[in-house]
């Protein structure tokens, strides 16, 4: 009798299962898409490193069978920056949540996009701080009920694609966890792209966001995503901001080319120093 093996299993630390995510949570779905993108892109796994911050999505680093780093809150991007600069051969993925990347880590997000550091950022946006119990995030849509805005959120939220495009990202896409094929394809595309790539994944938190806002369970959220999503490739990112119950614009918004940080650095040093310049190739300590 043959045993069926899930094709994504080789990419996971199965000895760490079961994972900590709630029933109906979308993070596991994004990891499945990520693993499928790894298969699809035939990327060299040994050269791949994954860096997470803190929070529910921050736990992704602990479940993938890769060199993986679970760093401090908000600092996945600067950690990844150091990793990439010290060993330019690495493909570095940052996999973290909306609060981690855009609140406590917001400064690093915009500066990494400005520098065009060659990082692939996957931002799982569940519209809330989930690990700590459902507090308002910079991404929480207007009027949502959260544990720290029990009467409704009244501060404006971030439109993340618009933010990272303005800061300089070369690839910006958004999908929901309903769009598993499109999401896996977007990840595959981002792997091919040199420079700062950003994929926002709208993902449910049935335990804290959907429940408090009477939006149903995980299945109801899939139906909601299906109904509300509209594919708008190339849409101006200024028009893709999210509201609580309105349209969810999905698609590839930005795909452009500009030299990445290391290419610019090399160009400058070669021009200024000529033969005196020594490539910072793989640093050797041992």
């Amino acid at each position: 009798m043959s045993t069926l093996v899930n094709p994504v299993e080789p990419f996971l630390r199965t000895d760490r299962m079961p994972h900590i995510w709630c029933p109906g949570c979308g993070i596991g779905t994004t990891v499945n898409c990520f693993a499928r993108a790894l298969i699809e892109s035939k990327i060299d796994l040994q050269s791949l490193a994954l860096v997470s911050g803190i929070g529910c999505t921050g736990r992704v680093a602990g479940y993938v069978k890769l060199d993986s780093f679970h760093t401090t809150h908000g600092r996945a991007i600067p950690f990844a920056t150091g990793l990439k600069l010290a060993n330019p051969k690495l493909n570095v993925v940052v996999y973290s949540g909306d609060g981690d990347l855009s609140a406590i880590g917001g400064n690093h997000l915009i500066h990494a996009a400005r520098r065009n550091i060659d990082l692939k950022v996957i931002c799982v946006n569940n519209l809330i701080y989930a690990m700590t119990g459902g507090q308002t995030a910079p991404t929480t849509p207007d009027h949502s009920i959260t544990s720290t805005n029990p009467y409704g959120v009244f501060e404006p939220s971030f439109n993340l694609p618009h933010l990272v495009e303005a800061a300089g990202a070369v690839y910006v896409a958004r999908w929901t966890t309903f769009h598993v094929r499109q999401l896996a394809r977007a990840m595959t595309e981002a792997f091919q792209k040199k420079g700062f790539s950003f994929i926002e994944v709208i993902s449910p938190c049935p335990t804290l966001y959907q429940r408090r806002n009477k939006m149903g369970d995980g299945l109801d959220t899939m139906k909601f995503y299906k109904e509300k999503s509209k594919v708008r490739h190339g849409a101006p990112t200024s028009e893709v901001g999210l509201t609580m119950t309105g349209e969810i614009a999905v698609g590839k918004f930005v795909d452009r080319d500009r030299p990445d940080y290391q290419t610019m650095m090399r160009g400058q040093f070669v021009e200024s120093l000529g033969e005196k310049y020594i490539e910072p190739t793989e640093a050797v300590c041992s």
Binding site: G62, K65, T72, G82, L85, A86, H108, A283
Partner: protein, 385 residues
């Protein structure tokens, strides 16, 4: 292992402590720095930014010290020897990542060129008031190593030492300079590369199947692997087991945190460096470090010419504190006098280590300048009564 000659600027130089620190880092094999500008430390990374493209490495100026202090750790796991440089306000922001380096056992160096505080304080003037912050600034129980140079030559020599200790023990090492030492220009002799001893990274020789990222064999310091080598290891700031996997049990916490402490404490006597002089007949011993040790020297010389029996103990390593040496001296001297550019930090350690066997006198100074040797002498006279 000997230093990579590409990073070693062999010769006799007339440079300040900040520049000497940079040359020490390059000689030690540092090929990556991340920083954020802050007086009076910026010259270290300015020189590094100019030098490192010609020795095969990189510098990046980050958006803040929170970023700089973790970017360097990414670089370490990418295979580089790396450091950052700052002063008080930036050092405060870096505390989070001193804890991360301690918890993940990331070998790295934090240079703090101390200035007057609290807060923005005295950006261009000296202090030594970050000494306790260096030891205790991040939350939780952990152990670090801290060195205190008192000259540009030592800024060179001890920066190499700092990197070597970081690699040997896999801890963050604090390099506690002060504004005067940082900006003081003196002769600095940089030896040939083959005379500079450099500790290589404790890289595992084990196969991918055998490797346990946080497993130890007796010496309490685990072997490291770098990203991209196929080990598929996991690093986390969460409490973790030998596999590096999160484990939230008191048992694993106890085992891990005790090891993080004990790996340094067990070697404390070997790590704790100090300079001693005229201790044989001393009734009073002046304990000092950094720039204050040079002022203290003048006070000791003045006292000796008046026939007073004064000895010198200069701390080169502040942390781990040389308990043993203080304890030995306390048994047969009358008193310790501790001048420092703060309102009494390391003096608490001296007092603790004496266990009441000798008196302890503080000579505090709020910073912004150095002591007048006469002030120190006055306390020495008082202490010897």
């Amino acid at each position: 292992m000997k230093a990579d000659p590409r990073g070693v600027l062999t010769g006799i130089h007339f440079i300040d402590g900040d520049h000497a620190c940079c040359e020490g880092a390059l000689a030690a094999g540092a090929r990556f720095a991340a920083g954020y500008p802050i007086t009076p430390s910026t010259e270290v990374v300015e020189r590094f930014a100019s030098r490192v493209p010609t020795v095969g490495g990189s510098f990046i100026q980050m958006e803040d010290e929170l970023a700089a202090s973790i970017t360097l750790q990414g670089a370490v796991w990418g295979g580089a020897k790396a450091f950052t440089v700052t002063s008080g306000p930036g050092f405060s922001l870096m505390m989070e990542h001193i804890g991360y380096a301690a918890m993940t056992e990331t070998p790295c160096v934090f240079v703090d060129v101390q200035r007057g505080g609290p807060s923005t304080g005295l950006p261009t003037l000296p202090a030594q008031a970050d000494m306790m912050q260096a030891r205790w600034g991040s939350h939780g129980d952990y152990e670090i190593i801290a060195l205190c140079p008192n000259s540009p030559q030592e800024c060179f020599d001890l920066t190499i030492k700092a990197f070597n200790l970081a690699e040997e023990f896999r801890v963050p090492v604090m390099f506690m300079m002060d504004e005067v030492v940082g900006h003081m220009t003196e002769k600095v002799v940089i030896p040939p590369a083959d005379q500079i001893e450099v500790v290589p990274r404790k890289h595992t020789q084990k196969s991918i199947e055998e490797y346990l990222p946080y497993g130890t064999n007796g010496d309490m310091v685990p072997e490291i692997a770098h990203a991209g080598e196929g080990y598929n290891f996991h690093v986390t700031g969460l409490t973790h087991d030998e596999r590096g996997y999160p484990n939230m049990t008191p048992l694993v916490q106890d085992k891990l945190v005790r090891r993080l402490q004990n790996k340094v404490r067990a070697a404390a006597d070997r790590i704790a460096l100090f300079e001693e002089d005229q201790l044989e007949d001393a009734d009073v011993v002046v304990v000092s470090y950094g720039i204050t040790s040079r002022v203290a020297q003048r006070a000791i010389d003045l006292g000796r010419t008046r026939g007073m029996k004064i000895g010198k103990l200069r701390l080169i390593t502040a942390w781990p504190f040389p308990d043993k040496k203080i304890r030995e001296l306390a048994a047969h001297i009358k008193a310790f006098v501790v001048p420092e550019l703060n309102l009494g930090q390391m003096v608490r350690e001296v007092e603790r280590a004496t266990s009441g066997k000798a008196e302890t006198f503080s000579v505090p100074h709020a910073g912004g300048g150095v002591h007048n040797p006469e002030e120190i002498l006055k306390v020495i006279v008082e202490a010897s009564r």
